[in-house]
């Protein structure tokens, strides 16, 4: 029982230790303000990471999410600011487009048996290219609706704010947990990651599930794109480059096996928070270059992958 949850427990332990270190050095880490900011700053990464966890659990990968975020923000900026579209209508429209885009990638992956890596790589260039077709400028979004939404926040005791976008992220995680662990779809995702051939022989609807997984990932990338546009109040073609890699790193640090089949959504949340923690620490520290974030994450990632290999080798031995 403990053994099964070991990767998540280790991730959690790393987070707690990391938090305590930060706390020892900067007591203000205990303030709700820092915690609220941690959630807000990582909201969009957290939301895509939920979708990415499903993709990786199924044994796939989605490299297109960063571009989909950029496309979403650019689409919103152009349609709202240039064409005067109602923001809420624009949200629905862009989520529809993103979903279709993901479903299309899932369809291609399943039907032609092309590795997800290649299909989503193509998707990444395609979505990024579409941004540039729409505009090459950074367009600020000044619609009143944006002001209204970004003002929504719960005041936390101690001066912190739980912002709307942080709430969206937490709700996404809650929904992701239910979807992964308490629905047939979730079981099918784990089944695909366990062994695709066996899953097929056991009657798992492989085509439908694959399409839904990538649809979900792109849909959540769309949601993250909307959140990102709240966060930056702008649409820019070059935004969110490399986000797919940060997300994959968060998922793996969260204890999900890159080869699929094993992992949890809650682990991903901790993975995202660890990344956020490192970032915050470096900001507080002040003298370190922000590249140290990348270095720290790289080292952590490496350690976790080695750890996972060790764990799975150990569990094979004792069988």
């Amino acid at each position: 029982m403990i053994r099964r949850h070991l990767p998540v427990l280790i991730t959690l332990a790393v987070f707690i230790v990391g938090y305590l270190i930060c706390l020892a050095q900067f007591p203000s880490f205990a303030s709700t303000r820092v915690i609220g900011n941690l959630l807000t700053d990582n909201a969009f990464i957290g939301i895509v990471a939920v979708g990415m966890t499903f993709v990786i659990l199924s044994g796939g990968i989605d490299l297109s999410v960063g571009s989909v975020i950029a496309f979403t923000s650019v689409f919103l900026a152009v349609s709202i600011e240039k064409y005067g579209l109602n923001p809420y209508l624009a949200f629905i429209l862009v989520l529809g487009i993103a979903s279709l885009f993901g479903a299309g990638m899932g369809f291609v992956i399943h039907t032609f048996q092309i590795p997800a890596f290649i299909v989503t790589l193509a998707g990444m260039f395609l979505a990024r290219g579409l941004c540039f077709v729409l505009t090459t400028d950074s367009i600020p979004i000044n619609a009143p609706a944006y002001g209204l939404i970004t003002d929504i926040a719960f005041a936390l005791p101690g001066g912190g704010r739980l912002t709307f976008i942080a709430i969206v992220m937490l709700l996404t995680f809650a929904a992701g947990i239910v979807l992964a662990h308490f629905t047939r779809f979730g079981a099918n995702v784990y089944a695909l990651g366990g062994n695709r051939t066996s899953a097929e022989l056991m009657g798992v609807p492989v085509a439908k599930t694959t399409i839904r997984i990538y649809l979900l990932s792109s849909f959540l990338a769309g949601v993250a794109g909307i959140v990102f546009s709240f966060y930056t109040s702008a649409g820019y073609s070059l935004a969110a480059t490399g986000v797919e890699l940060d997300t994959i790193a968060a998922v793996v640090i969260g204890g999900t096996l890159l080869t699929g089949g094993y992992g949890t959504i809650i682990g991903t949340l901790v993975g995202v928070l660890i990344q956020g923690l490192i970032q915050t620490y470096i900001t507080f520290e002040g003298t370190l270059s922000s590249w140290w974030t990348k270095i720290a994450i790289g080292a952590l990632l490496f350690a976790f992958i080695v750890l996972q290999r060790g764990l799975s080798a150990a569990s094979l031995r004792t069988r």
Partner: protein, 502 residues
């Protein structure tokens, strides 16, 4: 009781044809399954049995032919479709999903749910109830992969039985089961038969065919040889239907048991590992065959793993030729010229993407080191020799091994270790899934190797088989070597009573 042919026809296959590149797996095969019968589908390795099943359940598309279920033409698009039609199947390569819980494996795709949410508690309760019918009391919340192959196989069977509203297909389901578990399974099959389910049963164990089947159909090289009620078919006639030639009855049995004397080649003293295996003593002399018998989980495979170094012993000593040696890893075992064919060949053995040739020379090459590549000519020579010797059915040595029939993959694995010319060979269930013809062939090979001075340790659940070729038999119970039988004590009956502990 009405004879089975008076029962309504349930499944009617006519003129079924299926080819793969280079192989015509099925030629115009007819097959009829009645409601309430257990129908054995028999044939040599590579005869086309699994292909017939996979075409029926929509894994492969047929080239021609019709399939009718209850009088309606059917064409399952995929296995899910076949399940919806009431056809439950245990495929030969019973791979369920090791990462999912036992309960999820049993209920995937049909989990009890409310408001779109799976009722996990209810699912576990149902799973426990289902497995209790098979005498299995395990924690169904644990991942399936943490249980033994036998448990996994029972779970696969339980799942298929539960899903088969009309037809149940079992492709060599008994391969990893012991006698008791087979009896439980047969009890369940008889019950299903009386409820009017049609059962298609593939096996290479002729005893099981006679114990449970009402009728049999034999395939050979993808063609139908014939269908007969089993009651009218003597064993010899059945075997020649399968092989297309006579097989001398004694070919399956070694005639005389010898008492091998001389210095032991390998000696294990107080060898054991805590929580895995009680310390044991074991000696095997050149030219001797020692059998390991016992129920599943009695420590047979564990003994083999310790001896080969897959598990590291924490007590006792090992000697080869009287000199102390260290066997801590499989590499140590291989360096001492030990060979080991594992029980779970699907996961521990073949490399599906590599060719038959590459699979056969794998162990030999590893032994020489990868820097000293075996010349291609030599590789081909070795592969061809074993393909002939063990009658591995493949169009050529370059075919990816994953595309061979199950039994032929196993023969290739045996060849892998024989090719290393080991001094001490450990065979875990060497004849599982192998047809009667090849079975006799393998026993002959074992005999010849013994004459050449090979020392053999063989594990088998087939008591008759183990009694027939072993010079000595070690009986295990509860991870302990309880008794050693030799000379005239080596018989299936004595082994049985010793296992039972009387």
């Amino acid at each position: 009781m009405p004879s089975v042919t008076e029962q309504p026809q349930l499944l009617e296959i006519r003129d079924l044809t299926k080819g793969f590149p280079g192989v015509q797996a099925l030629h115009h095969v007819d097959f009829t399954l009645h409601a309430g019968e257990i129908h054995g589908l028999l044939g040599e390795n590579g005869a086309g049995k699994s292909t017939l099943i996979k075409v029926l359940t929509g894994v492969f598309k047929r080239d021609a032919g019709t399939i009718r279920l209850d009088g309606d033409d059917i064409a399952a698009r995929d296995p899910a479709d076949a399940l919806a039609l009431g056809i439950g199947t245990v495929y030969q390569e019973v791979n369920l999903l090791p990462n999912l819980s036992v309960a999820e494996n049993l209920f995937i795709g049909r989990q009890p749910h409310r408001f779109g949410l799976v009722r996990t508690g209810e699912m576990r309760r149902l799973s426990e109830k289902l497995l209790a019918g098979y005498g299995l009391d395990i924690d169904v919340a644990n991942p399936l992969g943490t249980y033994s192959v036998a448990v996994q196989q029972i779970v696969a069977i339980a799942r298929a039985v539960d899903l088969s509203a009309k037809v149940l297909i079992l492709d060599e389901p008994t391969a990893s089961l012991d006698a008791q578990e087979v009896e439980t399974l047969f009890g369940i099959l008889r019950d299903l038969r009386s409820r009017g389910i049609g059962i298609l049963f593939v096996t290479h164990f002729l005893d099981q065919v006679y114990a449970i089947c009402d009728r049999i159909t034999v395939l050979r090289n993808g063609r139908l040889v014939g269908s007969r009620p089993i009651a009218e078919l003597p064993r010899i006639a059945l075997v020649s239907m399968m092989l297309g030639r006579e097989l001398a009855a004694e070919a399956l049995h070694r005639n005389q048991r010898k008492t091998v004397t001389g210095e032991p080649l390998v000696t294990f003293k107080d060898y054991g590992k805590r929580r895995l295996m009680e310390p044991f003593d074991l000696e095997v002399r050149p030219g001797e065959v020692v059998g390991l018998a016992g129920l599943l989980g009695s420590g047979r495979t564990e003994t083999a793993k310790l001896v080969f170094g897959i598990e590291r012993a924490d007590s006792g000593q090992a000697f080869v030729d009287g000199k102390p040696v260290r066997i801590a890893t499989p590499r140590d075992g291989a360096r001492l010229r030990f060979g080991f064919t594992p029980e779970d060949r699907k996961t521990e053995g073949i490399v599906a993407e590599l060719s038959v040739r590459e699979n056969i020379i794998l162990a030999l090459q590893a032994q020489r080191g990868w820097l000293r590549l075996i010349p291609r000519r030599k590789q081909e020579e070795i592969a061809d020799r074993f393909i002939k010797l063990l009658d591995i059915r493949t169009p050529d040595a370059e075919k990816p091994i994953g595309l061979l029939s199950g039994g032929n993959q196993q023969k290739a694995l045996l060849a892998r270790w024989l090719a290393t010319e080991p001094r001490f060979l450990i065979l875990d269930e060497p004849t599982r899934g192998i047809d009667v013809g090849a079975h006799a062939e393998i026993i002959r090979v074992i005999e010849r190797l013994c004459e050449e001075g090979l020392a053999l340790l063989v594990i088998s659940s087939e008591l008759e088989e183990i009694a027939s070729y072993s010079d000595r038999v070690v009986v295990l119970r509860d991870r302990r070597h309880v008794r050693e039988l030799s000379g005239s004590d080596v018989s299936a009956d004595t082994i049985m009573t010793t296992i039972a502990g009387h």
